[in-house]
Symmetry: D2
Subunit: 422 residues, 4 copies
């Protein structure tokens, strides 16, 4: 270990203090495959964080890797701005045929720049442009990104403080079950809308995550989402589902909102859309909302063609049929059963769990416990991270492609970490 620490020095001396994950996992990683990361000293870690949801198919999945290497080797266009390329066409056709059409969606596809926050910025800009209103409603503990527009609809006070300017035009409403079921859903929100004296400027849109990952793995019920969709329709607000972390199959279906049977006006996708961890993002919207002028929103890396190649390969490999969805739900049950057992054994620590598909959170009454569990898990070879406003939740985002025995191994390690931090 001493050797590694010596070798990390350039990170300490040159990289900004803003770095974070490297502090909890103080190793220098070198190789990655499937569910595993290997550091330069040969230690192997089971990765149940999966790039914060960017690696739903694990690290370097072979089929995608092959497609990527082939494309690079034959000098396919790498950087394509927003030019038409064969790689982009293949992606668009495949996305249309395997994702949009089977789900009855006729949304237009925008390449807003290759990160989630770009996709959110584009969604917010478009909603405001269409509705000619400034206000956007977000939810308690929402996370939508770090650029100024996205940050203004993000809940976390620590992140918000980084803006250096007051964050305006965003209004938070209570997420599902935020007030412990003591208040009827949308009672407050709808009352504000119907009362011309409420002080709420009429919103252009509502932006929501179906499961709040960064916010603590808070799961919205399908009926809550349906009621929200109805509210948006009745009050002429666009419904934006930010599916950056929970889309691409994380909760079972390709989109996390499918289970609720709703059709958002605007959808943001990023993280796992390229399937290989390459930067890529999409903003989807109903055709009638496509009021952009050519080039009104742009960006240098909108056309990251290697990502289009792996994205196409990922759709072909995992979304040509319902296999991935079924498998994810089955694996989710495996995780749930294990968490249920941990929670029962640690009932005195106020342990609980929540989640959907393969996004799970393990909660404790003691706020510091989650961090200790993650730290111990790391020592035991498992990568998991905390989330929630007080970092009080251990968040599990294993690759959807994890085999049952890999899940089993990780969950056993987690149980041990919980035991040993009691």
């Amino acid at each position: 270990m001493t050797i590694t620490e010596a070798e990390t020095s350039v990170f300490d001396t040159l990289e900004s203090q803003v770095r974070s994950y490297c502090r909890g996992w103080p190793r220098v990683f070198e190789y990655a495959h499937g569910c595993r990361l290997q550091d330069e000293d040969g230690h192997v870690y089971l990765d149940f964080f999966a790039g914060a949801g960017a690696l739903n198919y694990g690290h370097n999945p072979p089929v995608l890797k092959r497609a990527l290497l082939d494309y690079l080797e034959r000098d396919g266009v790498t950087h394509g701005l927003d030019m038409s390329t064969t790689a982009k066409r293949a992606f668009l056709e495949t996305f249309r045929d395997l994702v949009l059409r089977p789900r009855g969606l006729d949304h237009k596809v925008m390449f807003p720049g290759p990160t989630g926050t770009n996709a959110v910025e584009a969604a917010l800009k478009l909603a405001r442009k269409v509705k000619r209103r400034e206000t956007v409603v977000s939810f308690t503990n929402a996370f939508h990104g770090m650029s100024l527009g996205a940050l203004a609809v993000t809940g976390n006070a620590f992140k918000r403080a980084g803006a250096g300017v007051p964050l305006v035009h965003g209004v938070p409403m209570p997420f599902d079950n935020y007030l412990d079921g003591r208040v009827e859903d949308f009672l407050w929100f709808e009352r504000l809308l119907e009362d011309r004296g409420s002080g709420l400027s009429r919103p252009a849109a509502v932006i929501v995550e179906t499961v709040q990952g960064e916010g603590g793995v808070n799961v919205a019920r399908a009926e809550w989402l349906r009621a929200l969709a109805g509210l948006c329709r009745r009050w002429d607000m666009l419904l934006i589902v930010d599916d950056i972390q929970m889309g691409c199959g994380r909760t079972g279906g390709f989109f996390s909102f499918e289970e609720a049977g709703i059709v958002p006006d605007v959808i943001t996708l990023s993280k796992s859309i390229s399937g290989y961890g390459l930067p890529m993002a999409l903003t989807l919207f109903r055709p009638g909302l496509d009021v952009w002028e050519p080039g009104e929103h742009n960006g240098t890396f909108r056309g990251n063609n290697p990502a289009f190649v792996t994205a196409t390969a990922a759709l072909d490999a995992y979304w040509a049929d319902s296999g991935t969805e079924k498998q994810t739900l089955a694996r989710g049950e495996q995780v749930e059963a294990a968490l249920d057992e941990i929670a029962r054994e640690h009932r005195r620590s106020g342990a609980g769990y929540r989640g959907r598909g393969l996004a799970w959170g393990l909660t404790f009454a003691d706020a510091g416990r989650a961090a200790r569990v993650c730290a111990r898990a790391f020592e035991l070879g498992l990568l998991v991270e905390t989330s929630g406003p007080g970092n009080e939740v251990v968040k599990l985002l294993p690759p959807l492609t994890a085999a049952p025995d890999e899940l089993e191994e990780g969950l056993r390690t987690l149980a041990r970490a919980v035991d040993e931090t009691a």
Copy 2:
């Protein structure tokens, strides 16, 4: 051509109206190498736009390609969040040894997310956090990005209108020579600063491009930049140089501000930093400004390790000595001579030119001429684009690696396009 048009249909039917470059260059591109792009019908185009400055070393440069393929083949970490990896370490060490140290810079390196606008957002957030002031001064015809914070310091009215909310906290000042030399440099800016009754809220920072690419290839003189740096120092404002388009050797030196002998407090880099057109961005700042809390700014794709690999290879290949800088300046003279000839021949059309290194603009009195020149050039097999607030400038950003005869070929095509649009 009919075939191609039929095949582009998915772009028309599915992709958002926001797409732009594909409209001026209506082909489906497939392969790329060096200065050339090839469409799926086998037509080859000389690319003097180079990914809007993201491809300074041309398309798919072989040395970088080899490094990238090797890394991917051996399952190096692809997606690394902000974990320490061997690829990141190699990049940091190389960047330190070949870029920072030789130039006497001790700046810290932040990975703010892999796009230019992320780098700018991080720079603005940091400046405001450090100085506890909101206002940031930018310049007429500045371009800094499309997310809300960056857009507020961008000049273009068309882009600004896309925000859907009033853009605040940014104040424009005249760029060098904006008022045709009729006003002493910084007369207005300094008067506003020194007058406690001027109405200018004290700025946290000034953000500037040394050459405004999108704004029309407007070149700031070295003495203007030095005066600006002095002004920032005297008035306790941070100087942010946005070197996203003009850095990485575009004007000769690695950083575009080297020629002026100034040291910015904050520097943004993106576009050509990965060298291969892969998304990557950096925000650099003086060590004393590194007041970030861990994770206060984050992003999923901060750790695009394939980009670190090609970035390292690019530094090794092009910046181990002063060869690239010298070659760029020589090539620049070649371009300048050609433009001078064009301008002299089209004096009656009010033709003029300006630029530095290998960033050049060809201007006309008639605003529509530039667009016609670009359209004709495309028909003749040359990719160039317009820039400037009225799209009145033909912008040339050939790869720095273009051979003299490739430059010659492109410049001849350009001259012909100018002739044929007279």
Copy 3:
């Protein structure tokens, strides 16, 4: 009547469309005394609107009139900027001796300019300056004024739209009983405060009316106000009570919050503080909050000395003992009894009533009914106006000095107007 209409023409031709009360009461008024207004044709009206609360002691009360005439006749200073004058001193001493000290208040007195909105602007500026935070929480259906700062904490959408810019830094919370008792008081507000991920920027202050006059005569319970005061204390937010309409005895005690036993950090007064309908306003705050620099907030008419003279006379005449308070409560019972009878008789119209002291509202299920009642009352010689976000409430603000038989007369007219609009 024809004559009058002809003579109003300058109002139609020259005065802006923004005029409002003159539309509901289309007469040209000439004389006023006590509860009565007389138009130029000799018609006399009973005034139960009392200058929207600015005439708590009726029109031109003789004792105040005498003091005012004396002062003007002997050439006392009329316009005093914020210079020390004998009239100002007399007011300050009397206000201290009759208002502040007997109530155990040690608040500092600021003359912020002679209108309510000035007083609110000063309160908001001070709160933000003290706490170095921007956000101020207001309540649904709040009314605090028409200048930009006050408007941003006002609920009415119609008024807000007049701003022409997005109104920011204000966040609405539910006023007492806003959600019909279905939600625990402050459940939502406190949850937002305690959750670091809620998205609520920490407020500098809370601004509240104990009874919302413009908002529809919504009465906050004493225990709700006490809970609010506790919340402010616990979360380090200043409590601003806007007592512009409900202060100066309107609800019984001099300050409307006395009944609840709370001590606001900041208090705004205007309307009836001069007692004679002359423009005057005060912003009061705890001594520790007096962080203003000399002249940091100013205004030409801060020193409206004739108003100081009548204000002093009013305090001497009405607030030297508890007589006014007791009388107001007694008169309030008289009004309440009459409204109760009206409501019982018009139960089928969904009639209801609410109020405190001598501020009362008569409500109907049918939103248009209130306007019809006011119109008919005017024809019958009674001035009353609607309030509430949909103008659905008939608002009664009779002079506190109305004699029982005057009240009786007005209430009988009101009852008749209700009957005749059924």
Copy 4:
């Protein structure tokens, strides 16, 4: 003096630190008449500050006093909200007949609340509502008021800091001669407007004072004002002249812009409009701009009828013919001659002067000198104050009604104060 100081104690103990003029003139004033103020100890002061321009006809002018006393004695309506009253009608008719019509103005009259900042807020709201744009251009060293909207177009950094929130939507441009004639008028402003890439959001309006009183008695030339009016017309921006301090005859004509021959779209008046120092304000605008909805902007003290009475009397007494204008210009020459002599005698102190009509400023190279002059003048029985961003200008605003010998007396005192502070 000791006695007085003891007696000022309630000001020290109870009044907020924000008080200002009373600090420079530490007496308790009791009586006022014409150009004179008398303190409670019988000392008489010559007042060349005249309520910061609110007392153009001096203190308590007898004709107005008589009209006011009559009105009050016969129980005319005192507080009239925005009801039609005979007093309001008389004012409107007189204002139309003596002010608007003779000057060819057909502006509508709005009563926005009785203070200058209310009038400015109303003007800004209307301009933004009409043009559907947020930005308003103001000028360096402008002063328009202390409420949030007006403060955002005010230059003084000290006042601005009091807002406690960032001031947005205002953009400062250089006032006439701001850059010492080294820059062509409006070069920068017009360039920003015509360049779609300048970063200036298209303004709804420009707000300007023809002579900046608070800003240091900066006088705009007539040709500069005309050029500004032309610029506004060409670029579809409303021209708002804030004539609160310089209107009502201060510079000669009733409106200060008459000399330049321009017709503003919007005009604000306050200060001396009531003629007696009573709070009153007007916002005037071209009929086509009267897009207000009834009650969209309101305020309790819009109908300060005693002020209407004195305002009418003032118009009758001073503006029935051109006598006041001629007299003011003559008196102005008297002041100018005296200042010229002072300046010549103190050339070595860098003394200078500027002004128009009866608004004058005496400037010194040494910033502290003006304050010392004012302090010494006060000891010698003359009230004058400093203005300008660094309080570097002695500002003279004697009553327009000052007799030649009164002016002579004051100017002699001033000269002595200058001498004795050398």
